[in-house]
Amino acid sequence: MTTQNDALAGPAIQVRPTTLSGRIVQALNKTPIHIALGIVAIIWLAPTIGLLITSFRPRSDIQATGWWESLSTLRFTLENYSSVLTAQGLLGSFVNNLIISIPSTLLPLTIASMAAYAFSWVRFPFRDSLFLIVVALLMVPAQVAFIPVLNLFKPLGWTQGFLAIWLVHTAFALPFGIFLLRNFFITLPRDLIEAARIDGAGDISIFRTIVVPLSVPAIAAYGIFQFLWVWNDLLMALVFVQKNTNFPMTLAIQNLLSQYGTEWQLLAAGAFLLMIVPLLVFFSLQRYFVQGLLAGSVK
């Protein structure tokens, strides 16, 4: 909890007045701040809440009035969701999102933690130079890889299944994962690892029983970051998922938009189906999520 509190809590700079009149004066002095923050909160909530309300309104109501006029007379329907899930096939896309995201998270998690262990606790020649190459690869735009990797996958037919998207997501997650986890692994106490070596533990058991258990916060932050990255991705799926029935939700919604540009009841419901998992992750794992994003600022 400490990191979240450090990042999301207030400073204790001001001394709170103890008398009643002192408190009233302070509250009055802060009125402009409260008003400004109120406006900030409205601007950052209204667009999303508007779409959420719209997703539960019947089509005829959406065409007639704005969502802000419906707050008192909301006619609630789940029809938009059932229509988008079944008729528009978003249920299948939701499943595809899971099929794409889970291996595309677990695979880089495993490979990056192993490589990070090598970069922090195994000696080999040019280790630090190779690590600088990994840091440089962080900035390589995915577009640079698309043509040769497509050349590689297409004859094998991998873009017709999920293998292509799993592999490219894994590869492009590695530089960041190795960077993040290596920087965490080197902070582990050297004595602990040396002691385990002297007790006869090999690298595999040191990795499994000491390094990984002690690094759960960093690994979790990376895992959540990567999961949401893949879940929310459009570009990689656009290029590497070439079979309609394998489309994730981002592609399905993009198709909905180009087919029914103003059918807001479908678009709103579709957008919320896409948002629901990230929002659940955000509210339940906010601590790791914020850590992952802050660390991910180099990606």
Binding site: P11, I33, V40, G66, V140, I204, N232, L238, G270, L293
Partner: protein, 324 residues
């Protein structure tokens, strides 16, 4: 499991060495089996999917590149075509210029500027109130959402009909509009940048907030007792002390802009016409999706070149951190 015996053999070697020499020396020796087991999977992935493709694409940028293969060497032709003959990429003949590159420059100036300014503002204001973490959670929320969903949210806000679009409804109260925000080349980039700013301010707020908390309270206190007003404190103390995290943040935001694709693709598909295209969009629309692989490779190389200073900046920063 199959790897265990290898590990055990290595332990034995490490132990016998440890018996003769100080333990840190034994750790300095190359441990080939462990290095291979732990680093090889990552190395294979990085070489096959990043290093080799980067070299291939750089070569392809100087080639006609039919079918994505090396068919015909064309020298700098792809680049000169892009910069002198493709008005959708960059057009200097008008003022202001237009095209994808120009739109990226607009994004860099206005998106980065507004995100930094609003992030610092919200972080400063929020630090004065007790519900700070709530405000930060609210502005941070869009960070969790897919660009595709953000695009739907903002397309809805910008809807040209005043009974659907929130923005036009608000303007309608003042008898302005309705305006077709995404359908008018004069407004579309401002509207898209607005959505982008909205999506990223929370990220800047959380980073700036952490930076503000790093300023020792005693410095602010002593400035106040010496009679400095709030404006002086902000410009003479706070701003200089958060300039480093702010510059790192600015670099991150600029990288976001160079890679920007999803939001544009879903919200406007580069339109109306070609007026909201960005460089990554050109790569996809004019290159990859229509089989112009030489051109696509050239655009990708332009993206890479723009990002190389950031690469060097990161390596320098990392090396400094490693020395300290």
């Amino acid at each position: 499991m199959g790897l265990e015996p290898l590990g055990l053999a290595k332990e034995g070697a490490a132990l016998s060495k440890g018996g003769r020499k100080p333990k840190n020396v034994s750790a300095e020796r190359t441990n080939w089996p462990a290095a291979l087991i732990f680093a090889a999977p990552a190395a294979i992935f990085l070489i096959v999917f990043l290093v080799y493709p980067t070299i291939y694409t750089i070569g392809l940028a100087f080639n006609r590149g039919r079918q994505g293969q090396f068919t015909q060497w064309v020298g700098l032709d792809n680049f000169t075509q892009l910069f002198t003959n493709d008005k959708n990429f960059i057009d200097f003949s008008t003022f202001p210029p237009s095209g994808a590159i120009w739109n990226n420059i607009l994004w860099i100036i206005f998106y980065t500027g507004f995100v930094l300014a609003l992030g610092l503002l919200v972080a400063t204001l929020a630090s004065r109130v007790r519900y700070e973490s709530l405000i930060k959670a609210i502005v941070f929320l869009p960070m969790a959402i897919a660009a595709t969903a953000l695009a739907v949210i903002w397309k809805f806000v910008y809807a040209p009909e005043a009974q659907t679009g929130l923005l036009n409804a608000i303007l309608g109260v003042a008898h302005v509009g309705p305006v077709s925000w995404l359908g008018n080349p004069a407004f579309v980039n401002a509207a898209l940048i607005g959505a982008g700013v909205w999506a990223s301010v929370g990220f800047a707020t959380v980073i700036m907030s952490a930076a503000l908390k790093g300023i020792p309270a005693e410095i602010l206190e002593s400035a106040r007792t010496e009679g400095a007003n709030e404006r002086q404190i902000f410009f003479r103390i706070i701003l200089p002390m958060v300039s480093l995290p702010m510059s790192v943040l600015a670099v991150t935001l600029i990288v976001n802009v160079i890679k920007l694709f999803d939001l544009i693709f879903v919200m406007t598909n580069g339109g109306p016409g070609t007026s909201s295209r960005v460089i990554a969009f050109t790569f996809y629309q004019d290159g990859l999706s229509i089989g112009q692989f030489g051109k696509a490779a050239a655009v990708a190389v332009v993206m890479l070149i723009v990002l190389i200073p950031v690469m060097i900046f990161n390596i320098r920063r990392f090396r400094q951190a490693a020395v300290v």
